[in-house]
């Protein structure tokens, strides 16, 4: 199964570069929308953040207490934990253009 919790902490410790992107995807159960969101996210990351990112998928049905920390209401929600400031992107990430704006990758991508 592709939707499994990854290990972001280890990844961050292993590669603590300032340019590292820490992303967190909140879902609730194995829905079609969750799967779509994750595959969209992976594609965008591969296209724009090669090797500079980690993705943590949190299933709120399994860990409901985590919904408070990042103020999650909408599902799915993608949270950009790093770099600061935190950004939230809701929806199944099908609108790539808006995802890039949401992640500030429109600018990050330009000069890079």
């Amino acid at each position: 199964m592709s939707i499994r919790k990854s290990t972001p902490r280890r990844a961050r410790r292993a590669e603590p570069a300032p340019s590292n992107w820490e992303l967190r995807l909140y879902v609730a159960g194995q829905t079609q929308r969750s799967r779509t969101a994750l595959s969209n996210l992976k594609k965008i990351c591969e296209d724009h953040l090669q090797e500079r990112y980690s993705i943590e998928v949190i299933d709120l049905l399994e860990q409901p207490q985590l919904s408070r920390g990042d103020q999650i209401l909408a599902i799915p929600t993608l949270v950009r934990k790093l770099p600061k400031p935190m950004r939230k992107i809701i929806g199944d990430l099908s609108d790539t253009e808006r995802v890039l704006i949401g992640l500030d990758l429109r600018y990050a991508d330009g000069p890079g």
Binding site: L61, R68, I72, L73, K88, I89, I90, D92, L93
Partner: protein
Amino acid sequence: MVTKRSRSQSRSAGLPKSPTGIQGLDEITGGGLPRGRPTLVCGSAGCGKTLLAMEFLVRGAMQFDEPGVFMFFEETEAELAANVASLGFDLPTLVRQERIVLDHVRIERSEIEETGEYDLEGLFVRLNLAIDSIGAKRVVLDTLEALFAGLPSEAVLRAELRRLFHWLKEKGVTAIITAERGREQLTRHGLEEYVSDCVILLDHRVSERLATRHLRVVKYRGAKHGTNEYPFLIGDEGISVLPITSLKNDHKASIERISTGIPRLDAMLGGRGFYRGSTILLTGPPGSGKTSVGAHFAEAAARRGERALYFAFEESPIQIERDMRSIGLHLAGAIQKGLLRFHASRPTLYGLEMHLATMFREIQTFKPSVVVVDPITSLLVAGSPSEAKAMVTRLIDFLKTEGVSALFHSLVSSGQSLPETEIVISSLMDSWILLQDIESNGERNRVLNVLKSRGMSHSNQAREFLITDRGIDLVDTYLGPRGVLTGAARVGQLARERATAARREKELVSRKNALQRKRAAIERQIATLRAEGDAEEEEYRRFDELTRDRELARTIERTEMSRARHADNNGTVAPRGRSRVGSTP
């Protein structure tokens, strides 16, 4: 058809309710909010939605053993705790005891980018977690409409809200959802469309420069409820709604009597004063001595060891205490012993409702047996007569329920006619004492009348009301051929009467003396006459004796003579000497 109706009736009769514990609200709703269903509370900003919702939760947790979840979207946790701490709710403790969960949902529109389809499952998960963590029976969502500002797609939001209310019902929690008042509909975003079981509207408006909050139950599906607008206020201990029309009239009537503190007034009231728990109206013009009567009444209660509460709306407590000292009534001792408490506030400070609710609170906390309201009229000017009557009815009802005896001062102008409010509230009173100023001969005098006193024989006579340096005294007025006289006129009349009486007395004495003298003279005359009589009698006796002596002497003489003449006296008398001589042989 018939069966359907009867089923719906039986359902409405047995509609389970969740008591709010909020003073008055349960009375209006007939027991509380619909159990296991969401209730919409809407109103404009600052009208008390959050506090109402919070009190519902806190009372649920503290009084009804129903833990609650407070999910809020606008204030921060610290702000919220500070706001409700002013009502005496200790949220941090309740949270620590796991009786209340506070969950702040923060939505920052600027942080959110919408990139496709989504739902609000996160909110559901979160609420579900909060509810299950303490087994909550009550939920508040304050203010859910913040979502409309925070989330981009209204269509998604509406669908999700509909799902949320269904979900809440399924979960079986009693919920309050607060919402901002809209311009043309009850709420800005039409939430009433989704929450249809119970809708409460709060309102905060200013009339005659006094702000008053009102509460109205717009809708309560399947239950009877008060439909009027009820004033409510936010006090030190939460919200109080004043449901004026849900009055019950079934107080106990005590037969115990309590002294008014003025012996002569007690005497006028069948000799024993007022009934305990009765309400008394004391009407009088300015300066007629109402405060003095009230202070006596309160002080008498303190002397019996009971608590008395004095609401002073026109004077400060210190001033009343000083003034009463000047008439020999010392209140300081009772105040120090905690038996007498003054509550002073300006009548214009709040509206009538606020005053009454404050009074309720004071009475409930101090638990007095005697209450003095000095004067009630300054509160009544705030509203119309009907409003005033309703409020006073409510207050009297409350006092009677608590068994508190109450004295209401009522200020009237010196004229004879009574203002309308006076007549309106007087019918609610058990006793009515009227103080009057009577002007005559260039002075004003106070006169006291007992106009009515239910359930006891009472004097119908006016008494002159004197304020002396030893307290209040009532004296009989002068009732004479020239009418009722008071004050100097009474004193003058009494003096005149005394003079007349003295004069009569003197005359009587002198007449008596004269009579005695006359009698003595007569006696003397009688004595003289009697002496004269005696003298005459004596004279007569002497004369009689003399006459008889003379007769005897004449007889002897005649006998001697005849013997000497040898008269053959064939008379009856034979002289002894001669016959004896003659017969001698």
